[in-house]
Every structure is written in structure tokens, then in C-alpha cells.
């Protein structure tokens, strides 16, 4: 096992780094203005001063809300062993109050090695929760409730949130509720009486700035000198990488990535993908790797769909387009067939297929979601009569036809004519 290509080892190391949010986010944890230190301050003050808090972590997806939280929790668990129990709930799974209470009871039991019964009613579970909060508070133990997808808990009567927050108003309990949500208006979703009990600590997670990104790149990709990799390889790898970082082409690539989506997640996926393109024989990253990764990451699904269509399907799309331009509000399979026939008649094309074949092509288009039914009504009707709509714009269609290898000239011409008129 020992005799491994250093490049291979390096790739493994870098990949494990990119997949480990703890590694990535430790970079930003030391400054006092970072969310990490703020969150840690809030939670640790709850632990040490036994004050109850409720915190919301807000921000777009992929900005490291949960990753930072995990980092904080890990640190605190190390700092205060046996004093913190973490209960994790996810709004997608536990938005139902009864189910959430049961899950809380289950995790509490697991945490304290108590026997858990699935049969307990939600009343019993909620009383158990209150009793446990009290006991834990008396024993100076803090219970952390992490509610992922917090907005989904704010549906209905919000019984769970109310009882959690209300329990936190008693002297003996010691708990922190941490809501994680990508909806910026998550706290507005709370009912008034719940909102009044919520203590409204808010931490906003933002996408990294340019400077942070540069730091992140170096932090993630430069090989450490003190590892068991050969020393000269590390030096070589790093110097090549620094050259790439300085390269104009590389900067352009990073700009494109960053312009569309500047979150941590996106950047990390991009780097991972670039790493996967690394040529093990050469052993070093190159600009080409990043270029490949860019094309990998910026997919154009609808255009690719068009590429896979048959000629007949293209015909159908063009027919629909023509109908749309002529402001036929609704078109269905029959009207499309009429149009198809009229095109065939007026231009004498060679591609004329039977109605059944067309119908199959039509269904295929529906499945590829290039076209869709206008509404969900009329499931009973046969496909021919339900109104359909085109889901791609003419530019996309035009571009698709252009890049389609063996597109009949007539189709191309038809679309072009439509756009000019």
C-alpha cells in the first residue's frame, strides 16, 4: 500500500479536504467578526450563564450555516463534555408536531441512555420533554435544539415552537433553540405569540467575498509541506498551482463561476470537479482542468435536451412555436398536427410521419419537459385534446437548432423567419 503515486495521494488529500466542511470553515473561524465566534459566544454564554436563547441562522443555501454550526458544536462539546446534548430536527422530516415531539423524546432518551417507547402519545412526549428540560437544567446541562429548515416548522399552529420557547421561560430549564433556514423572512412566519417568545438572535451568512475566495483557494488547494508526501513534489505542485492562480485565463474561469453563483458550495464543487480532471500521469493541476470543470458545472439542460431530440420532435417544437407566434392561446396535439401538415404541404418536406409516430414523439417531448400541459385539469381526457405549452423560448430553440448537427434547413429557416417577424 505504501508505494503510491504521490499525485494520487495528493488528490486523495485534497478531495478529503474539499469534502470536509470543518476544514474549509476553520479558515474563517478565528476572526471575532466571523459568524463562528459570534455563534460560539451565544451558545457558550447559554451554557455557562444558563440563559436561554433562540438563534436564527439565515442565509442563502451553500453559505455554510450548518457547517459553521457543526464546527461550533464540535468545539463546545469538547470544551464542555457531558454538559450539552444536541437534538437535531429537520423541517422536511419533522414538520408535524407530534412526529417532532416523538423524535425529540427519542433523541433525548438516546442521549441519556433511557429506554424509549414508540407507543407514547404526543401528550406524554411533550410532558417528558418538559420534565427532561427541567432535570437537565437542574444538572447544569444544556439542551440544544437544532431545527434545520426552520421555515417548515413555522406552519400550522406552531405548537412545537410554542412549547419549546415557552419551556425556555422557566427558571430551571437551560436550552437553546437554533433555527437554520435559507428563507430570509423566516422570523416573519412565526405567529405573534411565538414571535414574542423568540429571542431573535439573528446571524446572517453571506457568500464569501473575492478576497475570502482567494484565501479559500490557497487554503484548500495548496499542499501542506509537513505531510508524508515527497517534499519536492509538494514544492513543485504548489509552485505550479500558484502560477495557475496568477494566470489570466484561470482568473476568467473563476470569474465566470463566481458571477453566476458565489456560494461556498458552488466553489467547492467546482474545485472538486477540477480535481477530478487532474491527470494522474502528469500529477499537477493545470488550467485545462479548471476549464473542463467549468463546462462540467455549467450545464445547460434544456439545450442538451434539444440536442437529443429527433427531427420529428424538432418539427413539433417548431410547429408549436409558429402557433404561439400567431397567438393561438391554446394549442393541443390536434392543432399541432394540423400545423405540421400545413408545413409539410407548403414546403413539401421529406419528413412526414404517421399520426401515431407523431404522437409518440409528442409524448416524448412531454416527458423531457420541453413542453408541458397548460394545467393539471383534465387528466381523464386523452392527450390529444389537452392544451400544451412550449417551455423553451425561441432563442433557446434557435440556438438548439443551430447546434443540432443534421437539422433540416427548412426548420432553421422557419424559426428564423418567425423571429424576424
Amino acid at each position: 500500500m505504501g508505494l503510491k503515486n504521490p499525485a494520487e495521494q495528493a488528490v486523495i488529500l485534497l478531495r478529503s479536504r474539499l469534502c470536509n466542511p470543518n476544514f474549509i470553515f476553520t479558515l474563517f473561524s478565528d476572526s471575532p467578526d466571523s459568524n463562528y465566534s459570534k455563534l460560539k459566544y451565544i451558545i457558550s454564554s447559554s451554557v455557562t450563564e444558563s440563559c436561554n436563547n433562540s438563534v436564527l441562522l439565515l442565509g442563502p443555501r451553500g453559505c455554510g450555516k450548518l457547517a459553521v454550526l457543526e464546527l461550533v458544536l464540535e468545539d463546545l462539546l469538547r470544551e464542555f463534555p457531558d454538559m450539552i446534548s444536541v437534538i437535531k430536527l429537520n423541517g422536511l422530516l419533522h414538520s408535524d408536531d407530534n412526529c417532532a415531539l416523538k423524535e425529540i423524546a427519542r433523541q433525548l432518551c438516546l442521549e441519556h441512555q433511557l429506554a424509549f417507547s414508540k407507543m407514547a402519545s404526543s401528550d406524554e412526549n411533550s410532558q417528558f420533554l418538559i420534565a427532561m428540560l427541567r432535570e437537565c437544567g437542574l444538572a447544569h446541562k444544556t439542551v440544544l435544539f437544532v431545527l434545520d429548515e426552520f421555515d417548515l416548522f413555522a406552519q400550522g399552529k406552531q405548537r412545537l415552537l410554542y412549547s419549546l420557547l415557552d419551556a425556555m421561560q422557566s427558571v430551571t430549564s437551560q436550552a437553546v433553540v437554533i433555527g437554520v433556514s435559507c428563507r430570509l423572512d423566516a422570523d416573519q412566519l412565526l405567529e405573534k405569540r411565538v414571535r414574542s417568545r423568540f429571542s431573535h438572535r439573528k446571524l446572517l451568512f453571506l457568500p464569501p467575498s473575492r478576497e475570502d475566495l482567494q484565501r479559500l483557494l490557497e487554503h484548500a488547494l495548496l499542499l501542506p509541506s509537513g505531510s508524508d508526501l515527497p517534499h519536492e513534489f509538494v514544492a513543485n505542485f504548489n509552485s505550479k498551482l500558484l502560477n495557475i492562480f496568477a494566470d489570466k485565463k484561470f482568473k476568467d474561469i473563476m470569474d465566470t463561476v463566481f458571477n453566476t453563483d458565489s456560494t461556498f458550495k458552488q466553489v467547492l464543487t467546482f474545485l472538486f470537479s477540477a480535481l477530478c480532471h487532474l491527470d494522474l500521469k502528469r500529477g499537477f493541476l493545470s488550467v485545462e482542468n479548471f476549464k473542463d470543470a467549468l463546462s462540467n458545472i455549467q450545464r445547460q439542460p434544456k439545450l442538451e435536451c434539444l440536442k437529443d431530440c429527433s427531427i420529428l420532435e424538432l418539427y413539433i417544437l417548431v410547429c408549436m412555436k409558429r402557433l404561439e407566434v400567431r397567438e393561438h392561446e391554446t394549442c393541443n396535439f390536434n392543432s399541432i398536427m394540423k400545423e405540421y401538415k400545413s408545413i409539410h404541404d407548403s414546403f413539401q418536406t421529406t419528413d412526414y410521419y404517421a399520426r401515431d409516430v407523431c404522437r409518440r414523439a409528442f409524448e416524448h417531448l412531454l416527458r423531457r419537459e420541453l413542453i408541458s400541459f397548460l394545467d393539471n385539469r383534465g387528466h381523464g381526457h386523452s392527450i390529444e385534446f389537452r392544451p400544451v405549452k412550449l417551455l423553451i423560448s425561441w432563442q433557446e430553440l434557435y440556438q438548439g437548432l443551430k447546434s443540432y448537427g443534421s437539422c433540416p434547413a427548412i426548420l432553421y429557416k422557419l424559426v428564423e423567419r418567425e423571429t424576424t417577424t
Binding site: E49, S117, Q169, T172, F258
Partner: protein, 823 residues
């Protein structure tokens, strides 16, 4: 009040006793004494080391201490002093299963078992002989002292140590070895007493704060200290406290007292334990006078009581300045089988205690029957099975299934008391933070005097009426205006009046509508609160109907008026509103004696209900208006009284800000707490950077930051920092909005606009799919509202915030200066 038992003539007065016991010790110095200094199990308490082989037949049952003493003088044999309740052993078994047990402990267990069997035998004999029963007392005068239930006492630990009986009530000075009447000061480190005049230099008066004697100071510095040697011939007498702290005595809490059939007096003790004897040992933050209350009980004869001591909670302890030498502090309870600590709750739950006692009694009885079987192993098994404290057995003991109580909660406890809880050096800001917690409720809510009076008058009128026909009060007000707190405060004051006998007793049931799983469950909860039985809600409804409507009271004693407080009343509204109707209908029945207080947020709840309900509910109403800024200011400053942490304008600013928005007191307190946190954070930061401490007060700037965090939606910041394409997307949305004047647009149109913007400003158009993804991301954050992604081109889009916000956020973005043209 029980009869005061006279001391039997046999008993010698105190000084004689002393002589006698000391002579005992002198004549037979080899008496084996169970005196292992530190981690002695309670179980071995008061036993002399038994040797099973040479043990004589069990002594006759129940001898007094005097007798036993005599007995030991003649034959140094083990004699069980007190019949031990066997529960500790089962605890020990449980403990053994969870933690490795030291061999010496096992030893004690074995000998204990022997004794126990004897005791069991004795008990049985006694049962056969005497048909009389024990007589329980609340207060007993015994041996010149008066003891009542709930007192704390010193208990003898050693069988015949002579020093136990000498009991100097007054402590001697460390320096001059005289007691005297002069004022003495106590060292906080070694607890030694010093005359003020004996100190060098002498002190005039007792200084404030902690004081440490010079010996301890010197020891701390690592010097060798020679304590003053007592003058020849005088032996230093140790006080009971000193003996107790060096584990030569026990301290116990009297749980109950009774007279046995044979006339001896016994009490049930709950032991205290000193930090050295816990599994964690003395922890650095333990105070010298700190004890732990254990969950271990024993029946002890009253003979072994020495005298009173006083164990207090921290609050009383800090107040007790000079109440004597026997004052101790007890803040935690120590679980002897799990070796864990737990704070003692402020309001001790009487029910729980009662329950525990009951289970203990069961224990005793089952023990007696079991003890007949000779087989040891069987015996043990029985015990473990009977024990609830053992590790869980299958499904029946699931922790979250409530059968009277939750099982296994005693497992929860800290293995060690964390140090930070004992940090006495709290900063002013820290104190302020603690006071501003929502959890720390003031005794009576400030600024609600008028409402309190009204509620008091209502309840008093209803209760003293005897009839209380149709009494129903509806309280409404926005959240955070102190509705529930005020009612509860009123109930507390009334409770005191009931206790003093001014008004008739009543029962009080508190229900929160939002904590019920379904509205119908309220019947069950009411019924359980009134009677303690758990039935289904249908049955409960039936029974309650019977009680309130027909006036058939099943028990005469339950015939007191019942006050029902229903919080969040609006949650009880069902489709046919039958729950509310039932509850509000009962008070109108002649014999119901039911008073309903409903609390809800909406002012017009009665109007929204069916007329037959609103006619029953809407008569008497009380409105809790939102607090204005002066009131909020008063609420905050009343909590911060005596704490210098806030600048005055800061409080005013916070209260004005909240009063302008909602008048929610919770919000105002939270803002102040957050401001204190921010200030604390800022101070720490500046301290870690350089040692110059900044402003140590919470200023307006901190409050402003807190207000900003609480009230400001974060969307502007997100818009400012989002990716370039998202910014173009948003700008195009605004542009589209201005162009068409319609709030709603479709993705197709928007994409056109974006491509126009891009081409005319030299940006590369990213393609529809990428743009679409950007739009969906913005939709996820709810910066824009959009339909599901399957609609693609047809997807409808709308800004979720005013377009001015977007303009404001994007106007001076550095990477896209041209955006301003389109905003």
C-alpha cells in the same frame, strides 16, 4: 402537636453520659470501631466490624443506645444499632452494574447483608409480638431539644468515640484557645475562629467580603506554618462542625418521626454528605461549609441525634451572617447510586417526596417477607427485580411513557459540578444579563396594578360569593403584555391570603390551549387536575358534566370553588365550538362553583364565536394594552435596580423603539439583553486585542445594534453580497417593473430584459438555464417570489420586497456600476 415524651429516668444527664462513655473507651481501648476515614459507605455507618463466625446470636430487639453502649463494653461484638432499610443495598447493586466497585465496598456489602437479615428477622419477631402500631409525630421534644420534621441534625457516626459526647457549643479562638464572648471572625479557608483582638494587627470590626487568616495565607504562599500550640494540659476541643467536616459525624434531615411500639423514638433521616465523600471528591470550587443532600434514607433512633444544625440554600446562607457555627450551605443533591449532582429545585415537589416515601414503605414490607428465604441469590434477584433504580428492564420502563411518573430521570445529573456555575465574580453586565432573562420573573409585574386589582376583586368576589354564578373573565391583549404573569401573580398573593385564612380555599387549574394535543383533551386535563385520575376525554367530559351541571359532588372535600385559567383560549375553538361552549356553560350552572378566566390575544374573540358562547363569555372583559415607553422603561429599570450596567439613555432608547413597534415587554427585555451581550462581546474583544478596557456600560450604540438585528430584515445585506448575475437579475426585475408597471412578470420576459441589459453593457449573457438557476436561488431566499421550477419559461416572478430596497442595495455596487442606470 404530639405529646412530649419524657426522658426515661434511666438516662443519665449529659455530663454523666460523657463520663461514662469516656470511661468505656478507656477500659476497652481495643473496641473495634468502624472508622475508616474517607469514602465510607453509609451502609457501614454505626456498625462495628462484624466477624460472622464469632458473632453471637442476634441480640434482643430494640435496645436503647444506653444499653448498646453497655453491651459493647462487656462484649466487643457487632451489634446493629439501627435497623437499616435495605434500599441502599439495591442501590448499591445498581451502582455496581454501572460502575466498577471497589473491593472494600463489596466487603461492607457482605457484612451488611448479614446484618440486614438479622434485622429483618427482628422486625418479623416484633411484628409477631406487638400488635400495636407506630405513632407518628410532627414535633418531638427529646433529650432537651425540640425536633420537628424538616429539621437538620447532627447524628453520631461512631459507636463509642468519647469525643462525640463532648460538645462545645462555643468555638474556641485559634490563637488564645478561649471561647469568651468577644466577637470572633471566621477564616473562609480553614474555618478557624479568631478573636478580633487576637489578630495581628487586631481588627476593629468584621471586614466586608472574604477574609483569610494569615496561616492560610502563608500556606498558600508555600511556607511552612506552625499553628499556635495549645497550652499544656488543655486539649483542643473540636466543635461538632469540625467533627462533621472531618467525617466523624453525620448530618441528616428529619423526614418523619415516630414512636415505636416499645417506646423508643425513631426518625427517618435523609443524609447529607460532605464533598470529600462523594465520588467526585472535593472539587476546587466547593465551599468549606458546603454539603450535598443525598437521596438515601435511613431509620435512625433519636438517641443518636446530637443536636441541631442548619442547612440552608445559597440565598439564605448568604443572608445568614452570624447564626452560629452550625450553618451549612446545600445547593445540590447527590445521587448516591449514579454519583451525580443536581441542583435542588427551588420549589420542592411535595408530591414526589410523598411518592418516594410510599415506595420505601413497600420496600420494607417486601423485605420482611423475602428475608425468610435462606437462599442468598434468590434474595438478591428478588430485590433487583423489585428495584426501579436498576438499569431499565424492557419496555415497561420506557422513559417517555408516563405511568404516574417518568422513569429513569434520576439518571440525569452532572458527574461533577461545573466550575463556571460558581463564578461569584460576575461583572455588572453579566448580572444585568441574568436579570433581563425572560425566565427570571419579578414577584409582581410592574405597571399592572390596576389590572391586578381588578382580577383580585373578580376572584375574591367569585370565591366568597359561594355561588359564583356564571363567573367568567376574558382577558385579552397583544403578546408580551404580561397577561398570564399578572394572573399568576394574583393567584400567588391570594394563595397567601388563603393560607392566612382570610378567604375560603379554592383549587386552581392552569391550562394552556396551545399545549393540548387537541382541544378535547382539555376535559381530560381538567379532570386529572381536579381528581388525579387519568381517563379518556369522553369519560372525563361525562364526569365533569355530572359534577358541574348536576351538582353531584363525588367527594365532599372537593366542594371548594375551582378557578380555571385557560391560556391561549382561541386554540380551543373547534368547528362546532362545543368545547368552549361546555367550558363556559358550566359556570352558569347553580352548583358548579367554577370560575373561568380565559386569556387570548384577539380583542374580538367573543364576537367571532357563536352568539350562545359570546353571551356567556363576553360580559366581563379586561384589556391589557401594549406598554408605552415609560412603562417599558420602568419594567427594565426595575429589573436592573442596583446594577450599574446600562446608560440611562440606552434604556430609554430601547423602550421607545419597542413601544413604537409593539409594546411587547418581552421584546424590550430581549433587546436590552442582546445589547448587553453585544457590549460584553465588544469588551471581550477589546480586552483580547489590547488591555485597554473600553466603555464598560451598555450604550445607545449597543442597543441600536440589537434593535437593528432584531427588527431589520437581512435582505438588503444579502442583495448587496450576492453574485453578479443575481444582481443583474434583480435589476432587470426592477427595470421590468418600471417599464410595465406590473408587479408580476414571467421568466421569459425577464430573460429578454436581462439579455438586453447584458448586451448593451458588455456583459456576456450566461444562457437561459444558468439565469433560470439564479432566479430559483433568489426565490429560495424569498428575495423574489417565484413558482416552481418546472414551469421554466412560464414561471411567474415577483419581487418580495419593495423595489426601493433593491435600488438602495444595488445602487452603488462596485462591480456593476452600470446597474444604477436601470434602477
Amino acid at each position: 402537636m404530639a405529646e412530649t415524651p419524657k426522658k426515661r429516668s434511666k438516662q443519665t444527664p449529659k455530663h454523666q453520659q460523657h463520663d461514662l462513655s469516656s470511661s468505656n473507651a478507656i477500659t476497652i481501648p481495643a473496641t473495634p470501631v468502624a472508622l475508616e476515614p474517607t469514602p465510607v459507605r453509609r451502609s457501614s455507618r454505626l456498625y462495628t466490624t462484624p466477624t460472622a463466625a464469632t458473632a453471637p446470636p442476634p441480640p434482643p430487639p430494640r435496645f436503647t443506645r444506653r444499653k448498646s453502649l453497655n453491651f459493647t463494653t462487656t462484649t466487643p461484638t457487632p451489634i446493629p444499632k439501627t435497623p437499616k432499610k435495605p434500599a441502599p443495598q439495591s442501590q448499591e447493586d445498581a451502582a455496581k452494574q454501572i460502575s466498577p466497585i471497589s473491593p472494600d465496598r463489596y466487603e461492607t456489602r457482605r457484612k451488611r447483608k448479614l446484618d440486614e437479615e438479622k434485622n429483618a428477622g427482628l422486625a418479623k419477631n416484633k411484628d409477631l409480638k406487638g400488635g400495636k402500631k407506630r405513632v407518628y409525630y410532627r414535633k418531638v421534644v427529646y433529650d432537651g431539644g425540640e425536633f420537628s420534621i424538616g429539621d437538620d441534625v447532627y447524628v453520631k457516626r461512631r459507636e463509642n468515640a468519647e469525643s462525640d459526647n463532648e460538645d462545645p457549643e462555643v468555638e474556641e479562638c485559634v490563637m488564645c484557645f478561649k471561647a469568651g464572648r468577644a466577637v470572633m471572625i471566621e477564616c473562609d479557608e480553614c474555618l478557624g475562629g479568631f478573636h478580633l483582638k487576637c489578630l495581628k494587627p487586631p481588627l476593629k470590626e468584621v471586614p466586608e467580603g472574604d477574609w483569610i487568616c494569615r496561616f492560610c495565607e502563608a500556606t498558600k504562599l508555600g511556607k511552612n506554618v506552625e499553628l499556635p500550640v495549645p497550652p499544656a494540659g488543655k486539649k483542643r476541643a473540636r466543635t461538632a462542625k469540625e467533627k462533621f467536616l472531618s467525617s466523624d459525624l453525620w448530618a441528616a434531615h428529619i423526614e418523619s418521626m415516630w414512636k415505636e411500639v416499645d417506646g423508643t423514638y425513631w426518625f427517618r433521616s435523609r443524609w447529607y454528605i460532605i464533598p470529600e465523600e462523594t465520588a467526585a471528591g472535593r472539587q476546587p470550587h466547593n465551599l468549606r461549609r458546603e454539603l450535598y443532600r443525598t437521596n438515601e434514607f435511613a431509620d435512625v433512633e433519636m438517641e443518636s441525634i446530637i443536636r441541631h444544625c442548619y442547612v440552608m440554600n445559597p440565598k439564605d446562607f448568604s443572608k445568614a451572617a452570624d447564626e452560629g457555627d452550625d450553618v451549612f450551605l446545600c445547593e445540590y443533591e447527590y445521587d448516591v447510586c449514579w454519583h451525580s449532582f443536581k441542583r435542588i429545585a427551588e420549589i420542592s415537589n411535595n408530591e414526589e417526596d410523598a411518592e418516594e416515601d410510599e415506595s420505601d414503605k413497600d420496600w420494607n414490607s417486601c423485605e420482611i417477607t423475602d428475608s425468610d428465604s435462606e437462599d442468598d441469590t434468590d434474595y438478591k434477584k428478588e430485590k433487583i427485580n423489585g428495584s426501579q433504580r436498576g438499569p431499565s428492564f424492557g419496555h415497561s420502563l420506557a422513559a417517555n411513557l408516563r405511568k404516574g411518573q417518568f422513569f429513569g430521570l434520576q439518571k440525569i445529573g452532572a458527574k461533577k459540578i461545573p466550575e463556571h456555575t460558581r463564578c461569584h465574580k460576575q461583572t455588572e453586565i453579566g448580572k444585568a444579563k441574568a436579570m433581563l432573562l425572560l425566565a427570571c420573573l419579578p414577584k409582581s409585574p410592574p405597571c399592572r396594578n390596576k389590572e391586578m386589582e381588578e382580577i383580585t376583586a373578580f376572584i375574591k368576589g367569585a370565591v366568597s360569593d359561594g355561588q359564583c354564578l356564571g363567573k367568567c373573565l376574558y382577558i385579552h391583549g397583544v403578546p408580551g403584555t404580561g397577561k398570564t404573569m399578572t394572573v399568576l401573580a394574583v393567584m400567588r398573593t391570594l394563595k397567601i391570603e388563603v393560607d392566612s385564612g382570610n378567604i375560603k380555599p379554592y383549587c386552581f387549574v392552569e391550562i394552556n390551549g396551545l399545549k393540548l394535543a387537541s382541544p378535547e383533551n382539555i376535559y381530560r386535563v381538567i379532570y386529572e387536575a381536579l381528581t388525579g385520575h387519568r381517563v379518556s376525554w369522553k369519560k372525563a367530559l361525562h364526569l365533569l358534566n355530572e359534577r358541574f351541571s348536576n351538582g353531584t359532588n363525588w367527594e365532599e372535600e372537593n366542594n371548594k370553588p375551582c378557578i380555571l385559567l385557560i391560556d391561549e383560549l382561541d386554540l380551543l375553538v373547534t368547528r362546532n365550538q362545543s368545547v368552549l361552549y361546555n367550558i363556559l356553560d358550566w359556570p352558569t350552572k347553580p352548583h358548579s362553583k367554577l370560575i373561568v378566566i380565559g386569556i387570548a390575544n384577539t380583542m374580538d374573540l367573543p364576537e367571532k364565536l357563536l352568539p350562545r358562547i359570546s353571551s356567556r363569555m363576553g360580559i366581563q372583559r379586561l384589556c391589557f394594552g401594549p406598554y408605552n415607553y415609560q412603562q417599558l422603561q420602568e419594567i427594565i429599570s426595575s429589573r436592573l435596580k442596583g446594577i450599574d450596567a446600562f446608560e440611562k439613555p440606552a434604556i430609554e432608547f430601547a423602550s421607545r423603539k419597542v413601544a413604537a413597534v409593539s409594546g411587547d415587554a418581552r421584546r424590550a427585555l430581549e433587546i436590552c439583553r442582546r445589547a448587553a451581550e453585544l457590549a460584553d462581546y465588544r469588551l471581550r474583544k477589546s480586552q483580547s486585542l489590547n488591555d485597554s478596557a473600553g466603555r464598560s456600560l451598555v450604550g445607545v450604540a449597543d442597543v441600536e445594534a440589537a434593535v437593528k438585528e432584531m427588527f431589520q430584515a437581512p435582505h438588503i445585506q444579502v442583495m448587496k453580497s450576492c453574485s453578479k448575475l443575481s444582481k443583474i437579475f434583480l435589476a432587470a426585475m426592477v427595470h421590468e417593473l418600471y417599464k410595465t408597471g406590473m408587479g408580476e412578470t414571467s421568466f421569459e420576459k425577464l430573460a429578454m430584459t436581462v439579455s438586453c441589459l447584458c448586451t448593451s453593457n458588455g456583459e456576456a449573457f450566461p444562457g437561459f438555464d444558468t439565469l433560470f438557476r439564479v432566479g430559483c436561488k433568489l426565490g429560495e431566499c424569498r428575495i423574489i417570489l417565484c413558482e416552481a421550477g418546472v414551469r421554466h419559461k412560464l414561471q411567474k416572478l415577483q419581487l418580495n420586497f419593495p423595489s426601493d430596497d433593491v435600488t438602495f442595495a444595488l445602487k452603488d455596487s462596485k462591480d456593476l456600476p452600470w446597474l444604477a442606470k436601470y434602477l
